[in-house]
Amino acid sequence: MVDLKRPIAELVADVQAAKVSAVTLVQASLDRISETADYHTVLELNEAALEQAAGVDGRVAAGEQLPLAGVPFVAKDNYLTLGTHTTAASNILKPFKAPYAGPVIERLLAAGAVLVAKVNLDAFAHGSSTENSDFGPTKNPIDPTRVPGGSSGGSAAAVALGQAAFALGSDTGGSIRQPASFSGVVGLKPTYGLVPRTGVVAMGSSVDVLGPLTNSAADAALVLDIMAGRDASDATTLERDPETYAVKSGDLKGLKIGLIKEYMEEGLSPVIRRHTEEMVAQLEARGAVVTPVSLPATKLALAAYYILVPAEVSSNLARYDGIRYGHRSAKATNLEETYRLSRAEGFGAEAKRRIMIGTYVLSSGYYDAYYKRAQKVRTKLVEEFETAFKKYDLLLGPTTPTVAFPLGAKAHDPLAMYLNDVCTVAVNLVGVPAISLPMGTEDGLPVGLQLIAPQRAERALLEASVAVEDMVGDWRARA
């Protein structure tokens, strides 16, 4: 039986050497999805996956060298893809079939990867548990009575369950790293602008980034190497590093690492604190120099985030009006009602809440007090990170203050749900890259370590991550 949790480089080598076919890998992915259907990761299968895998086998047979030959992957359902629906897990986009796919999907397909399924998320990526999906929650891959995290919860669970070799996610405030932490996989959030956002349902355009969820840092590096780089369709994209991102090893000796004090304070689970402190001790034993660093503005990051991102959400979700695509209310008698009723019927509670907050903070008389003030707090945050990175190569802390919580535990308390992102949102507002790596367990549930690097320092971040993984060993064995 094919194990999709093997290193992607090995899967690719086997396909290139004709030891295994792309069709076999994709069939294994489909079989595994079917065996583990109870976790509700998948919203829709790509019906053409096996046919497309055969196409990859043909390209390999014709002598093409494909960096992701035959590798089955799943995409969060806010990625536009051809041949399936793209719903963003929302009722308002339930009927929507995208007329194009973005550069990330095109690059991955050109590299020989095969899209097997579209997976679940909190509707429009609003949430930290996938419970805001209009199509029902995904279950935690380690404990199905708990949430997998979110919003890329379907992506994280799919990788953890071995349904695909990697998954695509999006991260606006922690939506790749937090579910990676809750589900025991690796989640990479690149520098803002390194990966083109075209072809993904927009949430907070000044912070949204796309990245992979994988079984290892080396896998994340391999996938990022295909995803990254400028595209003319997204004017905010950056030039990629001319060297490969697909690093295979790294050294911790001599690295200067700052332990973010504010992430080690109240609200942090004592077990996660202990795991983080053990990481620090082991890093020092391997020659890294770890010292505590205070970033006081990180305490304000969540409040700034919940002004800025809802403001951008309210603008980005204005396009869902029932006119050109998506759900249109059958009850409307005039144009105004078409807008109001289509949006009332099509948006779930969290999307409505965020649109309402965003509309409020941008409305006449409130703009300076909320939005502009939050953008200034964001400046303080940017400056603190810039100062820290003059002294440190990397910053470190836990990814989340707690382990995965039970399904339903926070579903009726939006503010408690928002507090899940307390260790992850600052990174988005500053635009720097970060990764979550499994570092141990609490009562059997995964605990994530977050490493943060300066903008465009993905290679250094990934090299350190590979070395940290080696240092951690089997995280499941660390209670």
């Binding site: 009927p95 929507f96 079939k97 007329p99 194009y100 520098t191 803002y192 602008g193 000044s206 004017a235 905010t236 950056l238 304000l300 409040a303 700034a304 919940y306 002004i307 309210s314 204005a318 006119i323 050109r324 695509y325 998506g326 759900h327 249109r328 409307a332 008698t333 005039n334 144009l335 105004e336 009602e337 078409t338 807008y339 109001r340 009723l341 949006r343 948006f347 409505k352 809440r353 649109i355 309402m356 907050i357 509309t359 409020y360 007090a369 909320y370 003030r373 939050a374 953008q375 200034k376 707090v377 964001r378 400046t379 303080k380 939006p414 503010l415 928002y418 500053v430 635009g431 903008q455």
Partner: protein, 97 residues
């Protein structure tokens, strides 16, 4: 916890073009009040010497060539429209009667 007045919730819902039920307005009044109460903590931060951040990577003036490129056909783009006729999207009348 503070609440946001129901008048205010209704005003925002009108601006956002979302029809809310009476029950939703009551819930939103509490929930939005809590969230606005939470973000109020920024009001005490000294930001007098600080400029706002609109973007974080420092990119400026990204240009592309102004050239004709292939685009999607009308049929492809209309395929998702909930109602259409003769290549146009059909909508309800702008005003009643």
């Amino acid at each position: 916890m503070s609440k946001l007045g129901t008048d205010e919730v209704e005003r925002i819902a009108r601006l956002a073009r979302i029809q809310l039920s009476a029950e939703e307005i009551a819930t939103m009044s509490t929930e939005l009040g809590q969230i606005v109460g939470f973000v109020e903590q920024l009001q005490s931060v000294d930001i007098s010497e600080v400029e706002p951040t609109d973007q974080v990577t420092g990119l400026v003036d990204v240009w592309r060539e102004d050239e004709v490129r292939p685009s999607m056909s009308r049929e492809e783009l209309l395929v998702n429209a909930p109602a259409q006729k003769d290549g146009y999207i059909v909508v309800k009348r702008v005003k009643n009667g």
